[in-house]
């Protein structure tokens, strides 16, 4: 993975010095909270319900064992012994002290990490495919572009105070594992007829209260010109995005108001003036960055078939091991290797995406022992060991089992994506974590979960949509009605190349009703599905009506009748 050069290191070191001074001035009172707030947010520091929360960037989801050990130490020394992996490939510490944040940032800088622009109205942490470099369907390894754009966007002087936050996702595969079209800018990499890397640019996607998929605004942009093109695009947004209404300030509103065609035209006019400028990347810069993303030292190994892999397990462990192989292990580009997803979604014992310091250390050691000392964070809030020898899968399973990381529920109903919700977040209208817990408790039977198959459940505690509920097959949104917490259900959302925004089924439900409502909806699927149909396929074939009727069947439900 990428390693900082002296320039990158100077930047994070000097950022710590700058922030330490800002914190000092906040504490001595010379910097008022209203003026400190945007500064701390641009360093990932939120003030939540109970304490400060520090959001640390894991750029495009890539993490080394060494870095994860540092995160574990930070969790122990400065927090309450755990961290929360987010839907944007960040990690959050929920219980930090303002005075200590410069020290935490200094610890992070030592392992080439930072919290820069993980919040604020600026370009946020760039996200990408957790299977970058190993996915069988990969066309272009997106990591060098991700890293070049990470550098380009870090402390960008012109775009530190945009109308609103700005999120990039970058994909280089045929499948989409990045929720590309729900980003302010989605960059799809592919190759042109000469084999050169080019980018298709989608703009104006987003979730929040106006969920909308991004529009294609430029095709076949040579990768070198990404900085000048993105400067032009952000300049149009910075100048003309709405600043009068917080809820209409995202770029999606501007793109919609102008029309995607007109927005693209304005960006092009600006870009034509600067497209040959120093903004662009050079081949030397590519070389400097791309050299860090070469393939690791793979062994020449025979490819093992399913039976040979399963045979690694003793008879008593084999059924459980095979379930894990089915759900948590992915095919790899290289013969004899596989990618493994470690589940951070144990049933009801821990919040989705949470890992204790002890688990983090164990995971760091697993990555060291089985996957070249690297791991990836997924936007589904799990962790990936990308390069595991097939012959080591059972040994890894046994080791990971000790840390409660092998629940075979990846992509199943209990692999719930959830924001921290009202238990922590001061923006939330309702709690997310107890809902996730109740669902995991109700649907704890693995046979049933396997029978249901692929099914995404996403929970957001408010319309900011950090739990990506709009793209969940079943989405759950916490809403506030007269000071009470209610939950609205959407159906039919999907991520991937067939990305879709879910539809609201009707009036919202009380927290206690959610597992029953889910059960009612799932019964329709089980009854109506044809052969191998997934939940989303059945939903698309039948439409929302039968699910909606079933959801409101139970008369005892305390359904809100408004």
């Amino acid at each position: 993975m990428y390693q900082y050069d002296p320039i990158d290191q100077a930047l994070v070191d000097e950022r710590v010095i700058q922030f330490r001074d800002q914190v000092d001035r906040r504490i001595n009172g010379s910097l008022p909270e209203s003026e400190f707030r945007p500064l701390r947010l641009q360093n990932g520091l939120y003030l939540q319900r109970h304490a400060y929360m520090l959001r640390v960037a894991i750029p495009y989801g890539l993490l080394s064992s060494k870095q994860l050990l540092t995160l574990a130490d930070i969790a122990d020394r400065y927090d309450q012994g755990y961290g929360h992996f987010t839907t944007r490939q960040n990690i959050q510490f929920n219980w930090v002290e303002l005075e200590q944040t410069p020290d935490i940032l200094a610890e992070l800088a030592k392992v080439e990490m930072h919290a820069i622009q993980t919040s604020g109205n600026c370009i946020r942490n760039i996200t990408s495919d957790p299977f970058a470099g190993v996915a069988a369907d990969e066309v272009v390894d997106p990591r060098p572009i991700c890293e070049l754009l990470r550098q380009w966007s870090t402390l960008h002087p012109e775009f530190a105070f945009l109308p609103r936050k700005f999120k990039f996702a970058i994909n280089g595969s045929t499948e989409d594992r990045t929720v590309l079209l729900c980003h302010d800018v989605g960059i799809q990499l592919h190759k042109d007829s000469n084999g050169e890397i080019v980018a298709d640019i989608y703009a104006g996607g987003g979730m929040g209260r106006t969920p909308i998929l991004g529009n294609l605004v430029h095709t076949n942009l040579p990768w070198q010109k990404l900085p000048s093109y993105l400067t032009a695009l952000l300049r149009v947004y910075n100048r003309f995005g709405r600043r009068d209404n917080l809820y209409k300030a995202r770029i999606k509103i501007l793109v919609k108001a102008l029309s995607p065609e007109e927005f693209a035209r304005q960006v092009n006019i600006e870009w034509r003036q600067i497209q040959e400028s120093d903004h662009n990347f050079t081949p030397a810069e590519w070389q400097r960055v791309a050299q860090h993303f070469t393939k690791p030292a793979y062994q020449i190994l025979p490819s093992l078939d399913a039976a040979a892999v399963a045979a690694q397990a003793d008879t008593s462990s084999r059924p459980a091991f095979q379930r894990w192989l089915k759900r948590n292990v992915r095919a790899h580009q290289i013969a004899g290797y596989a990618s493994v997803v470690l589940s951070l979604k144990p049933h009801a014992t821990q919040a989705p995406g949470d890992a204790t310091a002890t688990q983090m250390r164990a995971i760091a050691n697993l990555a060291q022992a089985y996957s070249f000392g690297e791991l990836r964070v997924t936007h589904e809030q799990n962790l990936v060991l990308a390069d595991v020898e097939q012959s080591q899968l059972f040994a890894l399973w046994c080791a990971a089992k000790k840390s409660n990381l092998v629940l075979p529920n990846i992509g199943l109903l209990t692999d719930i994506i959830a924001c921290p919700g009202g238990d922590f977040c001061s923006l939330a209208n309702a709690k997310s974590l107890p809902i996730a817990k109740a669902i995991q408790e109700r649907f704890d039977n693995l046979d049933y979960l396997f029978d249901l198959g692929d099914l995404s459940v996403n929970i957001s505690g408010c319309i900011n949509s950090c739990g990506h509920h709009h793209v969940g097959n079943i989405g759950i949104l916490g809403v506030d009605k007269d000071g009470e917490e209610w939950y609205q259900i959407t159906l039919g959302g999907e991520q991937g190349v067939n990305a879709a925004i879910g539809k609201v089924i009707g009036p919202s439900f009380g927290a206690l009703d959610i597992p029953t409502v889910m059960d009612n909806i799932l019964k329709v699927y089980v009854k109506e599905r044809q052969s191998d149909e997934r939940f989303i396929d059945t939903y698309r074939r039948l439409g929302i009506a039968p699910f909606k009727t079933a959801a409101y069947l139970n008369q005892k439900l305390s359904t809100e009748l408004v």
């Binding site: 930047l11 010379s30 380009w152 960008h156 012109e158 300049r235 910075n238 600043r243 003036q273």
Partner: protein
């Protein structure tokens, strides 16, 4: 409104405080009541920075022509002013001794793009002065995109202000003041290679 001192940070020089000779006129805030009737009133005597929109309307009057000729009139752009829409006028108007860009509040980032466009697209060579809600924690990024003069909000710490420009020894983007450090480093490397080859 007139502050006593400005920071000047010219290209290739150190940042320093200089005496302010300019009065900003027509600000839409409590700082200056004169905006009530700017269209009817004339700006006060001396060196005055007037709203660009006001200047557009009044530039041909005898009074303004005379004062402009004597380098007593400069203009300021509001956040809502689209400098590109007035590109032709601005490019011809090297008559202004400086251009000011107003920040109604420090979190309104439009002024950064305004300054970048003035430098990059409209080739403005004179000073660009930041006015309004100008705080020390934004000085560095302002100075990178095109600003070289700063009228700090009155309560800001002047000693700390000058230190802001040297907080970082590197930059990760190409901007008006400096290129990406990576490009500079690559250029140095190439020079070194050439020298080695020559030797």
């Amino acid at each position: 409104m007139k502050t006593t001192a400005l920071i000047e940070y010219r290209l290739g020089h150190r940042a320093t405080f200089i005496q302010n000779e300019w009065t900003v006129w027509g600000l839409p805030s409590a700082e200056d009541k004169s905006d009530q009737n700017t269209s009817a009133d004339l700006p006060p005597a001396g060196k005055v920075i007037v709203p660009f929109s006001w200047w557009l309307e009044h530039r041909d009057t005898a009074e303004i022509t005379r004062r402009t000729f004597h380098s007593e009139i400069a203009v300021w752009f509001a956040g809502t002013d689209d400098v590109l829409a007035h590109a032709a006028v601005i490019e011809k108007s090297s008559v202004w001794p400086l251009i000011a860009v107003h920040f109604p509040i420090f979190t309104d980032g439009r002024g950064y793009s305004t300054a970048a466009l003035l430098r990059e697209r409209l080739n403005w060579q004179g000073n660009i002065l930041a006015i309004g809600d100008v705080l020390i924690d934004q000085l560095r990024q302002m100075s990178r995109v095109g600003f070289d003069q700063f009228s700090l909000r009155a309560d800001q710490n002047q000693t700390l202000a000058l230190k802001q420009f040297s907080l970082y020894s590197i930059n990760l983007q190409h901007a008006w003041r400096d290129s990406r450090s990576q490009l500079i480093q690559a250029a140095k490397h190439d020079c070194l290679e050439d020298e080695l080859q020559a030797a």
